[in-house]
Amino acid sequence: MGNWIIKFLGTAILIHGLLIWTGPEIVMRKLDRDLEAAKIFESECGERWVDGIFYINPSCLSNKQSARKPNPDFLYFLIPYDLSNGDLFVSTPVPPNDRYWSIHAHNRNTDAFYRITNTEINGKRFEFLITKNKNKTSNIPIAYATSKKGVILNRLVMKDFSEYESLDIFRRSTFREYR
């Protein structure tokens, strides 16, 4: 009987731990698939993929399983990256401080390793570099990643839904390249 209980509990704990450990990766893979599927143009969603940047239209979020509980007030853009291609340089517009704006960089396990908001930035653009090289130095801010793959997420608040078109143009001056 003792052996039976050990086998039962051991298996249950192992399976539970395995699922908890791999759960974030499962969801990130679903995100990968959703982003890949979004390369097919849908007129109601607009031009979503531009030069490696995925611009999210709030009205196209609700049917995506990987987009859990998005804030309808936000315009988001995502930059999935793979540092096997080099360090990633990003340049993006920054709104005045009366409007909430932030950048987060997430590792593959979903942990955020870098964050900044517009009240911490002087100027109308923000440029930064993501690298895995801990010895890298630069004259622009550096975010040190701990996994090769990850995602940058930008949040830009709409004070009113009528601002969508102007803010959509604003955010689309974002640029990224591997260096």
Binding site: I13, I20, G23, V27, L61, R68, P72, D73, V151
Partner: protein, 198 residues
């Protein structure tokens, strides 16, 4: 054969079943996950200050991945989530509610409702109330009606739950940093059932 099954295979099969079943509650918002993950409670509201940070516990990391992938981190935001009214009853699409409270000190705050599958409720534009569009009453409080019948509350600030059972998230962006030191100083909303509609 039967002996081998009962002694070796059965405990392993049951272990797989229980292991999987005990994982499932950590993939959506429910009373089990909300009480087991830990977190900070204020009345019926629950938050996690370590969300998306590298030191978060693996259950929280998994839970957040499933319910709100890529969350903002401290000190950018405090997320509070509730699935009950002030009487402890589940927030039901059968009822109307009044949400009242003092606005938090922050750059921007909002309330948004979601269905039990963690998805937006459409039309999503009617599922949000925020600091830009909410009026504050003379007593310093916001007052937001949660209903499927906005026409019954002309002139009021409305969130339309569309008769869906729902959870509600309060987001406090750029919060007063003192909130992290004293959770009791964070002003959370009161949710009172008004009446069954119909």
């Amino acid at each position: 054969m039967n002996k081998v099954f009962y002694r070796s295979l059965l405990p392993i099969l049951l272990g797989i079943l229980i292991g999987g079943a005990s994982f499932y509650p950590f993939t959506y918002t429910n009373p089990i996950s909300m009480s087991l993950i830990g977190g900070i409670k204020r009345n019926q509201w629950v938050t996690h200050f370590d969300l998306s940070m590298k030191d978060q516990n693996p259950w929280l990391r998994n839970y957040i991945a499933f319910i709100g992938l890529l969350g903002s981190i401290r000190p950018e935001v405090i997320y509070f989530e509730a699935m009950n009214d002030d009487d402890g009853k589940i927030l039901s699409g059968e009822n109307d509610y009044i949400l009242r409270g003092i606005p938090p000190k922050s750059r921007y705050w909002s309330f948004v409702i979601y269905d039990y599958e963690n998805s937006q409720i459409d039309p999503f534009e009617e599922t949000v109330a925020n600091s830009f569009r909410s009026t504050i009453k003379d007593n310093g409080e916001y007052e937001i009606i949660l209903t499927a019948n906005p026409e019954k509350y002309s002139g009021k600030q409305i969130i339309n739950h569309g008769s869906n059972n729902f959870t509600i998230i309060m987001r406090i962006y750029g919060p007063n940093l003192k909130y992290y030191e004293d959770k009791n100083s964070i002003p959370v909303g009161r949710i009172k059932k008004v009446s069954p509609h119909g």
